[in-house]
């Protein structure tokens, strides 16, 4: 069985009076089982050219309902540049330069597309989808 893990570390020495040091690892498995996910899009890198607009990064009707996990990173180095992330038509948040995110994606409806909207031309996005097939 393939083993895929995701580890997050959140740390700060000066946000609180006590040091913040949180680290946890998840093994990515199919929904409701201990069987590892067996699919991935692989690590991708996409430069969104001029005339920036909203793009469908992953189309909900191409994936079965499952415990997919999505990694996104804004590779921009310009602080004010961000990607707006939407699922279907609901805005989740803005991924600013250098920021990354990782979240489960259910794809429980054909309309539950992952959409990204760059705030500027020629921004670069890194992404990887782990697929519960």
């Amino acid at each position: 069985m393939a083993t895929t893990t995701a580890t997050i570390t959140l740390s700060s020495t000066d946000l609180l009076s006590d040091e913040l040091a949180l680290s946890t690892t998840a093994t990515l498995t199919a929904a409701g089982t201990s069987t590892g996910v067996v699919g991935t899009s692989g690590l991708g890198r996409k430069k969104l050219a001029s005339g920036h607009a909203q793009y469908v990064l992953f189309d909900g009707d191409q994936y079965a309902n499952g415990a997919h996990k999505l990694y996104l990173k804004n590779a921009s180095t310009t602080a004010a540049e961000f990607f707006t992330i939407e699922i279907n038509s609901e805005q989740m948040g803005k991924l600013y330069a250098g920021d990354w995110c990782f979240f489960p994606w259910e794809a429980n409806a054909d309309t539950n597309d992952i959409k990204i909207d760059p705030s500027a031309d020629n921004m670069v996005l890194e992404y990887m989808l782990f697929i519960d097939e």
Binding site: A2, T3, T4, T5, A6, T7, I8, T9, L10, S11, S12, T13, D14, L15, L16, L20, L22, T24, A26, T27, L28, T29, A31, G32, S34, V37, V38, T40, G42, L43, A67, K69, Y71, K73, A79, A80, I85, I87, N88, S89, E90, Q91, M92, G93, K94, L95, Y96, G98, D99, W100, C101, F102, F103, P104, W105, E106, A109, N112, E126, F130
Partner: protein, 137 residues
């Protein structure tokens, strides 16, 4: 300036070549490299089945760059938390899973809502933000 770092490492042997992807970011206020997120709330709680609850209501406002961490500490792999935002399904966090997302709470309906399935789920969460409105007494 408060400095909070969020790092991720993804590893897998799914592919012919072993994969290891790492990224790290300093959690900054929206659109700046000069000032870090300087406020947080942190909690650990039992989430019973039966109702949908707002984990985070929409007090941080749009244009800001809040970051939300959420982990399902349940040890039963069949238990999960359904995550929705303004009734839109995002995904399911099964026992042991975590997520880290930007959350700009762009309007009054943009709450992050959670529903336990399978049994009482244990969750841990942290919201890093740059300001929330306290409710007046």
């Amino acid at each position: 300036m408060a400095t909070t770092t969020a790092a991720v490492t993804l590893t897998s042997d799914l592919l012919s070549d072993n994969m290891s992807v790492s990224a790290s970011t300093t959690c900054m206020k929206a659109g700046t490299t000069a000032d870090g997120l300087d406020q947080m709330e942190y909690g650990y709680l039992d989430l019973p089945t039966g109702d949908e609850y707002d984990l985070i209501a929409t007090t941080p406002t749009a244009t800001k760059a809040s970051k939300l961490y959420l982990k399902n500490h349940s040890t039963d792999e069949t238990y999960y938390i359904a995550i929705t935002q303004n009734t839109q399904a995002i995904g399911r966090l099964y026992g042991g899973d975590w997520m880290f997302i930007p959350a700009d709470f762009h309007d009054s309906d943009g709450d992050i809502a959670i529903t336990a399935n399978g049994g009482t789920n244990k969750i841990c969460y942290a919201l890093f933000h740059e300001g929330t409105a306290l409710l007046a007494t």
